[in-house]
Symmetry: C3
Subunit: 138 residues, 3 copies
């Protein structure tokens, strides 16, 4: 694992982003005076809350595809896909806070980055399994 510093850096950056987005929800609670454990309130608060929840729901999928891409396909490709995902999530969150419709461009970019990471992972895993168990070198 010594050689996966850059995928580690992208993972750490993404987790700092997730911490920052949780903080944004906390600030929205303060701005709208919504004391926990309540999760309902004015539309802007509910959009901020749901934007964060959606990021939470997808975060483990991102980590899995980032690392399977990095380990089994290419570290460089994982870094590019990972940075694209992090940027897309930033755009998604800020869009969603403004309006439900404005979440969509960032969300589609998120799906594109995830799909690219998953496709590269699949390529790397299938060719690795063929190499290991069937001695087929693509």
């Amino acid at each position: 694992m010594e050689s996966f510093h850059v995928v580690g850096a992208v993972s750490l950056l993404s987790s700092i982003q997730m911490g920052y987005l949780a903080r944004r929800v906390g600030r929205a609670r303060e701005a709208h005076k919504i004391l926990p454990p309540a999760v309902n309130g004015p539309p802007e608060f509910e959009r901020t809350f749901r934007a964060h929840q959606n990021c939470v729901e997808f975060y483990p999928l991102f980590l899995v595809t980032l690392w399977t891409c990095g380990l089994f396909f290419s570290e460089g490709a994982a870094v590019v896909g990972g940075m694209a995902y992090i940027s897309a999530r930033h755009m998604y969150f800020n869009g969603y806070v403004k309006s439900t419709k404005k979440r969509l461009p960032g969300f589609y970019l998120t799906l594109a980055a995830l799909s690219a990471l998953a496709l590269m992972s699949l390529t790397g895993i299938v060719s690795g399994i063929l190499r290991k168990y069937a001695h087929v070198h693509l």
Copy 2:
């Protein structure tokens, strides 16, 4: 890590399943005309939403026990336990969409698969620590 392609394949499959379940929630939103950020609606929508949330809540636990089992106990056992978990989640989700009670068989299977993965991980970790720090070979 070069040799963990099959555990990587199970992880990737599980993350594709999680993406598919998120899509099912999106389709339930369309069918019942529940626009985000709302998460309340007719019972079938709420069951679909909560079924997905429960999968989200348990997904990191699954990934941890899958990989600790694969790394420290046996790759083959991790694959079997992982595929059992993925099947159980499929059964759970489809059951829960139908009725609250029908979530139970899949849920119990989920817990069984998770417990088996955790128990094998524990065995592998304890015997690894004994071997490494106490030079005891079980």
Copy 3:
């Protein structure tokens, strides 16, 4: 990865804790007769539910910083930070069940443990990248 048994043990312990906290929500459902998929009810139930949700939201961040610290900085430091996080989450959850205010001491400790893990990870990753790509040895 053969040598990361102790970080594996901390990961496994944290996932057992997460399973236990999910069980606590299940028991709160039974105590207050809140049948799934409902997530609203008396304040104590809602605090228990949100306490668990907050643990779920932060769990992948914990796993990322635990492993980047263990892999790229120091296994011992990761174990200490990880055990601190698990203890802080225990304190947070039990405090939150009692009152919204009593969640705070545990929550601040959680953030301290996470920040320490992230800072050590960052140190390890930056010095690793400098060593690998710039041949600078700190």
